[in-house]
Point group: C2
């Protein structure tokens, strides 16, 4: 009897590569270790020479191994050096909102300058977006609409798009229908609608620390106070800290990024997500769950969301296609649970409806299955880039540098020597046309002074490599000046 063929040959090399990768990560294979020859691997695993070769090329692309001329393949990367993840810091007391605001404005502004290599922007580069296929979806959407998409869209959002969002929700453990979804102009608008539905000026909202600097601007503009809750790289939001804070402060809402928090990149384990939802449901505090990075996972499967543990409608999930497909389309959504009517009402007041053509195009892109295919490629590519960036930092930055090990998303969170001022590094790097995000802008009190965030969205090439060399030198110079 023949065994059923379960694995497509096309993916066999990837499977082999993945096994070796696992051994390197678990430190069973260490930096400098020689790997079996291609022929030996082929015999050992019962695979063709060609497949064995492809597996090594894959690992080489990931920056995990290197081919030494006339010598064979060697392990290049070792996670041992980065055993300690960056520390988290408890919030301080003195808040200097203005100066953080000024830094944010400066970083934002420089981010999109053409002459600058942006290692500060967390978004897919053009080369990773299936532009032609997306354009085809737009053309199809124009053709398929009897009214050519000129009319106001359904207030709650394009029905086909909402159906696709509901269908995809299955992957994160959601059991929802299109009636549960409200579309928005990107994730940011979804977050703002939630905050406006839940808060009045002067109210307090709990957020992560460190957190995405865009959030501070939003809080400031809505006149909200923020309470920063520490995030652990492995377990996510510090739930005990939050529970104590709830007893002391009147928190009107929490705004967290449980999947691949920005900048730390940590993914909260399922049981912790459930714990968080239980706590908040018990206290009747709504959780605004920013899941914009949820689809960019490096593990085997899509992580669940807090929303998937939400039985009483206190979780408002917000997301978009801006990090995965087309930021320029401004297509996002909210699954607002018990606050659906308020969100629809605010949307009506604010924009009447979201743009019709872009929603229809994204719906079509989903429907054709193009999205799933694209996401598989994007995840694999970003994971490879994540590893290569990590390797480059390990190579060019000082010995005592600590690097996060993100399980998804776009960013590495890097702790430098305490003597290094990240904002000074940012300014020095800008003179060399490299943009990084200094740690100061990730808290209201600028306390992550010796941290930087590096985004690995840009494909790794010589220019990126060169930038890391320059950054490494700049860090060492700053270090010496202080010392």
């Amino acid at each position: 009897m023949e065994r059923p063929q379960t694995v497509d040959n096309d993916f066999l090399y990837a499977q082999i590569a993945s096994r070796i990768e696992e051994q390197i990560k678990q430190n069973l294979l260490r930096s400098g270790d020689k790997l079996p020859s291609v022929r030996a691997l082929s015999q050992e695993q019962g695979i063709s020479i060609n497949t064995a070769y492809k597996a090594y090329v894959e690992l080489e692309n990931m920056g995990l191994i290197e081919a030494r001329p006339k010598s064979g393949y060697y392990v290049k990367f070792s996670s041992a050096r980065f055993a300690k993840a960056p520390e988290t810091k408890p919030p301080l007391k003195n808040i200097e909102q203005t100066s953080v605001g000024q830094m944010i404005a400066m970083v934002y502004q420089n981010m999109s300058e053409d002459s600058v290599l942006s290692l500060s922007r967390s978004a897919p580069p053009l080369s990773l977006i299936p532009m032609a296929k997306l354009s085809k979806s737009m053309v199809a959407a124009m053709r398929n609409s009897p009214s050519a998409n000129v009319n106001y869209e359904n207030l709650q959002g394009n029905v086909s798009l909402r159906k696709q969002i509901a269908k995809n929700a299955f992957n994160w453990g959601g059991r929802i229908t299109e009636n549960d979804v409200v579309t928005t102009q990107g994730c940011m608008e979804a977050l703002i609608f939630c905050l406006r539905a839940l808060t009045k000026p002067g109210d307090t909202v709990a957020i992560e620390s460190p957190t995405y600097f865009g959030i501070f601007n939003v809080m400031l503009s809505l006149d909200l106070k923020v309470l920063e809750i520490p995030v652990d790289p492995d377990t996510g939001i510090d739930i005990d800290y939050l529970a104590q804070a709830i007893d002391k402060v009147d928190i009107k809402a929490c705004l967290f990024v449980p999947n691949f928090s920005n900048p730390i990149g940590c993914c909260m384990p399922d049981e912790r997500k459930q714990q968080l939802v239980t706590l908040l449901t018990d206290k009747k505090i709504p959780l605004i769950e920013d899941d914009i990075y949820g689809e960019i996972y490096f593990g085997k499967s899509r992580p669940r969301t807090c929303k998937s543990f939400d039985t009483e409608g206190w979780v408002m999930l917000c997301s978009s296609v801006s990090k995965s497909l087309a930021p320029g389309y401004r297509v996002g959504w909210c699954i607002p649970g018990r606050f659906k009517d308020q969100i629809i009402n605010i949307k009506m007041m604010h924009t009447i409806s979201s743009a019709t053509p872009t929603q229809a195009a994204i719906a079509h892109f989903f429907e054709t299955g193009r999205y799933d295919l694209h996401m598989r490629n994007l995840r694999r590519t970003l994971y490879t880039q994540c590893l290569r960036y990590t390797q480059a930092i390990a190579t060019h930055f000082p010995e005592n540098t600590k690097i996060s090990r993100p399980q998804g998303g776009y960013a590495l969170w890097i702790e430098l020597d305490k003597s290094v001022n990240a904002f000074e590094l940012y300014q020095a790097a800008m003179t060399r046309h490299i943009s990084i995000a200094p740690g100061q802008i990730f808290s209201t009190d600028a306390r992550f002074t010796n941290f930087i965030r590096i985004s690995f969205g840009i494909p790794y090439d010589n220019m990126v490599e060169q930038s890391f060399k320059i950054l490494g030198e700049l860090i060492k110079t700053l270090d010496n000046i202080k010392a």
Copy 2:
């Protein structure tokens, strides 16, 4: 020597029709007057029989004259009956915000029901939108963009679109460049960004009375107080009233619709606009000028804007293509004067940027000259519809009905007998599947109880005619019940 040919023959009939129309309006020709025969008109004016015939058909389409079998053409419409425009009312003291809010929600919700003939919606009907051409512009925009419009758009807005907006501004007396324009997601978002830039919760904003009900929702959601300034059908905003109010109340901003105010449809004369801008500049009070209807003029030329009199940047002009071309595209803009940086900052916080494909498509539509052509057709058609709707109301509504004479826009503001409760009429009409906007929702204190707003966007046909018959009967019934 030949005289230069200044008038295209194709437009001669329209010119003749326009002259006769003027005579009817000035009451030189009265309802029931017989008009010269087609042959007589041809001889009298030195035009061809065909042109004379076309002129009469045009006037017939406008509902101004009628052909009686075997007898000739007669004047049908007389403005004499409606010599008195609807009264304006000074603001009352007791405010019942909740009940007005409930009415607004009800009217909004029913507005988009398919089975209902919506005489309450002020927007171009599908039949008046050049859908195929707009789709072509979208396809061209996708083709012309090297990045297929997937990337974040320029924060201030698509440059080509801003150039076109600046170019069009010439028509309303504006001398601006693309640097003065910030694009938004429709006019409503522009208005909200302005209000957020200028006010804090609890502040007071002056608005017109009566005014578009959407404004109340916005004010409510931003926690702003409104001060209602009466509008005169001929001269617009009561500037004296406003000047007195400024001395008594701390007004943080004014939000007015000087061109074809909704619902009255009045166009503020130029010298009054200038007066208003002078007053506000003097008092350093910003004017948010909602010019969304500015392009829908029935007169010979585009009315100027307050912005065109603004020398010191206190006027923030807001507009969009939602009333003229494609509401579903959500393409609007703001020309924020001295508040440009604040508007850009709020836009960045709120949405990062506006959608790329829709802005690019509208820019292309403008560039090709399609917009100008479309607008000429739209204005002519809407003006004709305005006259036919007026005629139908004059025919089917009670004798003492007063009708506004809008100089542009989409709406007729109708004053019924004092005994008629417009909200009751709205409810009765809904049972007959006709949606109108009751006067109560156009002020915060529901004081326009015997007014209704009828929008003439839907092409006049038997169904519309029938609806006016039904409405007329309902009014008479409501009238009798009270009497």
